[in-house]
């Protein structure tokens, strides 16, 4: 795990502000199901996932979205997040034994008056799983 020191005053487009490895496990999916109230069985039952033609039990897209922003929150502080959006482009299959390893890179995508757009690249098995993953943070306070 590596983090870049908070430097909200000296940002430039293209700079990596945070980077982190995330690990999702089956236990983590059950934990997220309980915390969020999303009990769709494709997130914890292999038989149900197989019956609907999936390659395995999938992580909740909202779990991937929720975890992927954490490196940015640790860097900028949770109160600075104004806007956060993602597109769910590829499923994350969570192996019952080894789980799923994700990698997040957060890069400055655009600077505006008082805000910065941070673009997230989230990869699983060397493929991106989120599209247009963008976090707008306040830089003026």
């Amino acid at each position: 795990m590596s983090e870049t020191a908070n430097g909200l005053g000296e940002l430039e487009v293209g700079r990596v502000v945070a980077e982190r490895d995330l690990h999702l496990t089956r236990e983590g999916l059950v934990r997220y199901a309980g915390a969020s109230g999303d009990f769709n069985a494709i997130h914890y039952r292999d038989d149900v996932a197989a019956a609907v033609g999936l390659p395995g039990v999938l992580a909740h897209g909202m779990l991937t979205m929720g975890a992927a922003v954490q490196p940015v929150i640790d860097w900028a502080g949770p109160s600075r997040v104004l806007d956060y959006q993602v597109r769910f482009t590829r499923p994350v299959v969570v192996d019952p034994e080894s789980g799923a390893a994700l990698h997040v890179v957060a890069t400055v995508g655009k600077l505006d008056e008082g805000t910065a757009r941070i673009d997230l690249t989230v990869t699983f098995a060397d493929q991106t799983v989120l599209g247009k993953a963008q976090v707008v943070v306040a830089t003026d306070r």
Partner: protein, 149 residues
């Protein structure tokens, strides 16, 4: 039954108030691997100017799901849970959600369109606090798979 295109523009009644509990915030934060002290430690949150621990930005999904249920329970909408895939999601916040907030949510279906045999339903859930002030808008596209060919 395909998605009823006439639900475009439909607004559902506001949900009953949801009281955000401190332990629920901590539970959700653990689930999304959010370790920042302001999500867990009341003193750290207060030092940062909040009344109590604050929720991670995606916590609003818990409230938003209550409004999705209205859509699923609407027999005229033609939306069945088993055929939904989450296409995209956005949260636009005026302020973080804080433990102790009493939140109400109202869903509007903003767009329905056909897309290669599927239907794409875009909806916007406005979350407001007990004073009626805006807290966060959650926008989602739900892809509803067409009947098997």
């Amino acid at each position: 039954m395909p998605v009823n295109p006439e639900i475009q523009g439909r607004q559902y009644p506001p949900t009953a108030p949801y009281l955000v509990g401190r332990e629920k915030v901590r539970e959700f934060a653990r689930a999304v691997q959010a370790t920042h002290p302001e999500h867990h430690d009341v003193e750290a949150a207060r030092a940062a100017g909040h009344a109590d621990v604050i929720a991670p930005p995606t916590f609003a999904i818990v409230i938003q799901q209550l409004t999705w249920n209205q859509l699923l329970d609407d027999p005229t909408a033609g939306i069945v849970l088993e055929r939904i895939v989450h296409g995209d999601q956005r949260f636009t916040a005026s302020r973080p959600i804080v433990a102790g907030d009493e939140l109400t949510a109202q869903l509007t279906v903003t767009r329905v369109r056909s897309l290669g045999g599927n239907d794409m339903v875009t909806c916007e859930t406005e979350v407001t606090d007990a004073s009626g002030a805006h807290v966060v808008t959650a926008t989602s596209s739900l892809v509803v798979a067409g009947e098997a060919a």
